[in-house]
Amino acid sequence: MWNMLADNMNYAVAMVLFCIGFYTVIMRSNLIKKIIGLMVMQVAVFFFLVSVGYLAEGTAPIVIPGELPSPMVNPLPQAMILTGIVIAVSTTALFLSLVLKFYSHYGTVDMDKVKEDQR
C-alpha cells in the first residue's frame, strides 16, 4: 500500500491539498479565508494536472528543427492549467471585488455575523 502511495505521490498530495482547501471553504466563516481555501483547491488541481504530464527523463516540450526529438513532458496539461489559472485568477478577482462590496454594505466579512435580511 505504501508503495502505491509512493508511486502515486502526486495524486495523494493533490487530494490532501484539495481537501484542505475544501475544508477551509466550508468551515471558516470569514470570507477572505474562504477565498484562500478556494485558491488552495485550485492550486491542488493545477498541481495535479501538471504532475500527470511529467516524464522522468523528459525535457521541455519544444521542437528544435534539425535535432532528434527526445522524450518530452506532456505539454497538454500545461496548456490546460494555463487556461485554468486564467479562470482561477478571474474568479478570485471577481470574488474579492464582491467581498469588497459586501464589506461596504455589511461592515464585516464574517458570514456568521451577518443576519439574514428580512426581505
Partner: protein, 511 residues
C-alpha cells in the same frame, strides 16, 4: 468545406466578439448597447436554426477548430440535442436581451409622478457592462453545448459561471451582493470538483476528446479512478444545476438578481448543468455508464423525486413572488433529472423536452415578475391581487405560461410530463409516475393561486392606484413570445420529437 459547416463556430464567436465591441462603441454612441447585443444574438439564432436541417440529415456535425484533427485538436461536435439547445439558448437570450432594454433603463412616461424603483435598474455607466457580460454568457452557453472536448466544455462552463456571478451582483445592492456571494461560495468549489474530475479522467485516459474518451474509458483498467472522476464531475455539475440537496444557492440568487438575469439563470444556465451531466454520462462515459454506473440512476431517481416534492412544497409556502418562481425551478429540475435517472429512452426524451418547455415557460415567469416589479415595485404574491386590471397583457402571458408549468395539455410542459410518466411506466416505476402527477397538482396550487389573485380578486385598498398601465411593448412582447412558444411547442411537438428521440436513442445506445 461548405458554408454551413462554419455556422456553428460563427454562432459562438459572434456574441463573444461583439461583447468586446460593446463597451468601446458605447463610449461613442450611448444607446447602442442593446441593439448590438440583439444583433449578435440574432445572428447566432439564425445560424443555429440554419444548422438544424443539416444536423437532422447527417446525425451530427463535426468541425475541427484550427483544422487540427481530433483527438489532438478541439472538435466541435453537434448532434440534434446540441443544435436544439443552441437554438433554444440563442432564442431565449435574444428575447431576454430585448426585454432588458427597458428593464435596466426604464423611462417613465410624461406625467407619471411616482417612480417605482425595482432596485434592479442600472446606472448609465453599468449598462454597457451588463450587455457585454450578457453576450459573453450567451456565447459561453452556445459553446458549452456545441463542443466535443471536455476541457473546452469546462472552460465555457466557467466562462458562463463567472459572468453569471457578475450579472447576479451587477445591481450592487445589499441583497444582490449577498446573493452573489452565496452563489459563488457554492458554485466555485463545485467547478473545482468538476475540474478535478476532468483531470482525473485525463490522467487515466490521456485524451480530452469525447469520442476518443468513450473508447478509452471502455477499455480502461482504472475502474475506480473513472468512477471517482464521474462522481466528481456530476456532483460539480449538479450544484450548478441546482439538483435537490445542492440547490440552496438558487432561491437567493434567482430572486435577487435582476429579472432578465433570473430568467436566464433559471431558464438556461441551470439547464447547462444538466446538459453537462447528460453529455458526460452518455457521450463520454457511454458504455461504462450503462454497465457499471447504473447505481447512479437509482440514486438520481429518488433525489429527483425529492426535488419535485420539496420544490413544490417550498414554492407553495413562499410569500415573495420571485422566490416562489425560483423554487418552482427546483421542482422542474427534479423532473428533468428524473428523466435522466430512469435510464430509459422515453424518459430522457421527456426530460430533454422538459428542458425546452420549462426554459420557455420559466423565462416567461421571471420576465412577467420583472414587468410587475418594474411598474409597481410589488414583490409579494399578496400584492398581486387585482394586477390584471392594470397590467392585463403581462398577467395573461403569465397565465399561459403557468398552463405549461402545471402541465395542462396541449402545452410543452404537458408533453414533457407525458413522456416522463410513460418512461416511468416503461421501467416499472409506476410510483414515480404518481410523483410526477402529484407534482403537477402542487404546481397547480402555487401557479393558479397567483393567476387567481391576478385576475379574480380586487386589489387591496389603495394598491395599484399609482401604476398607470401596462409595461412597455419591448417588455410585454418578449413575455408573450415566450408564453406562445411554450404553447406552440406543445401543439407542434411533432416537429421536434422524432429527431429528438432518434438523437437520444443514438446517445443512449452508444454502447
Amino acid at each position: 468545406m461548405e458554408a454551413f459547416q462554419h455556422f456553428a463556430i460563427y454562432a459562438i464567436v459572434t456574441p463573444l466578439f461583439v461583447a468586446v465591441l460593446v463597451p468601446i462603441i458605447t463610449l461613442w454612441k450611448k444607446n447602442w448597447g442593446m441593439p448590438l447585443a440583439g444583433l449578435a444574438l440574432a445572428v447566432s439564432l439564425i445560424l443555429s436554426s440554419l444548422l438544424v436541417p443539416h444536423v437532422q440529415a447527417a446525425g451530427y456535425l463535426s468541425y475541427h477548430l484550427g483544422s487540427w484533427e481530433p483527438p489532438f485538436g478541439i472538435e466541435i461536435r453537434i448532434d440534434f440535442l446540441g443544435v436544439l439547445m443552441m437554438v433554444l439558448v440563442s432564442a431565449i437570450c435574444l428575447i431576454v436581451a430585448v426585454y432588458s432594454l427597458r428593464y435596466i433603463a426604464p423611462s417613465r412616461p410624461k406625467g407619471e409622478k411616482t417612480f417605482f424603483f425595482s432596485g434592479e435598474e442600472l446606472e448609465e455607466g453599468k449598462r454597457p457592462v451588463y450587455y457585454s457580460l450578457y453576450l459573453v454568457v450567451s456565447a459561453a452557453m452556445l459553446g458549452f453545448v456545441a463542443t466535443g472536448d471536455i476541457f473546452n466544455m469546462f472552460v465555457f462552463f466557467e466562462l458562463m459561471a463567472i459572468c453569471s456571478y457578475a450579472l447576479v451582483a451587477i445591481p450592487g445592492s445589499r441583497l444582490s451582493i449577498r446573493a452573489a456571494v452565496k452563489y459563488m461560495l457554492m458554485a466555485v468549489p463545485a467547478a473545482m470538483l468538476t475540474l478535478l474530475g476532468i483531470s482525473l479522467l485525463y490522467a487515466v485516459t490521456g485524451t480530452l476528446n469525447m469520442i476518443d474518451l468513450a473508447g478509452r474509458i471502455a477499455s480502461s483498467g482504472y475502474a475506480q479512478v473513472i468512477t471517482a472522476s464521474y462522481v466528481l464531475i456530476v456532483v460539480g455539475f449538479a450544484v450548478k444545476a441546482a439538483v435537490f440537496p445542492l440547490h440552496v444557492w438558487l432561491p437567493d440568487a434567482h430572486s435577487k438578481a435582476p429579472s432578465p438575469i433570473s430568467a436566464l439563470l433559471s431558464g438556461l444556465i441551470v439547464k447547462m448543468g444538466i446538459f453537462g451531466i447528460i453529455r458526460f454520462s452518455f457521450s463520454v462515459y457511454g458504455d461504462y455508464f450503462t454497465s457499471s454506473l447504473n447505481w447512479v440512476g437509482d440514486i438520481v431517481i429518488w433525489v429527483a423525486a425529492g426535488a419535485i416534492i420539496y420544490g413544490a412544497i417550498m414554492a407553495i409556502r413562499q410569500k415573495d413572488f420571485k422566490i416562489m418562481i425560483a423554487y418552482s425551478t427546483v421542482m422542474n429540475i427534479g423532473y428533468i433529472m428524473l428523466g435522466f435517472g430512469l435510464a430509459d429512452v422515453t424518459a430522457l426524451v421527456g426530460g430533454t423536452y422538459h428542458i425546452v418547455g420549462h426554459a420557455l415557460a420559466k423565462a416567461c415567469f421571471f420576465l412577467c415578475a420583472g414587468s410587475i416589479i418594474s411598474r409597481s415595485g410589488y414583490r409579494t404574491i399578496e400584492d398581486l391581487k387585482g394586477a390584471s386590471r392594470k397590467m392585463p397583457l403581462t398577467c395573461a402571458a403569465f397565465a399561459l405560461a403557468s398552463l405549461s408549468i402545471v402541465g395542462i395539455p396541449p402545452t410543452a410542459g404537458f408533453v414533457g410530463k407525458w413522456y416522463l410518466v410513460w418512461g416511468s411506466l416503461n421501467t416499472g416505476n409506476a410510483f414515480l409516475g404518481v410523483v410526477v402527477l402529484v407534482g403537477s397538482i402542487m404546481a397547480a396550487v402555487y401557479c393558479f393561486r397567483v393567476v387567481y389573485y391576478m385576475f379574480f380578486l380586487p386589489p387591496a385598498k389603495g394598491a395599484w392606484q399609482e401604476v398607470s398601465g401596462e409595461a412597455p411593448v419591448s417588455m410585454v412582447a418578449p413575455t408573450w413570445i415566450l408564453a406562445a412558444g411554450a404553447l406552440v411547442l406543445g401543439v407542434l411537438s411533432s416537429w421536434i420529437l422524432p429527431s429528438l428521440r432518434e438523437a437520444i436513442e443514438s446517445l443512449m445506445l452508444l454502447s
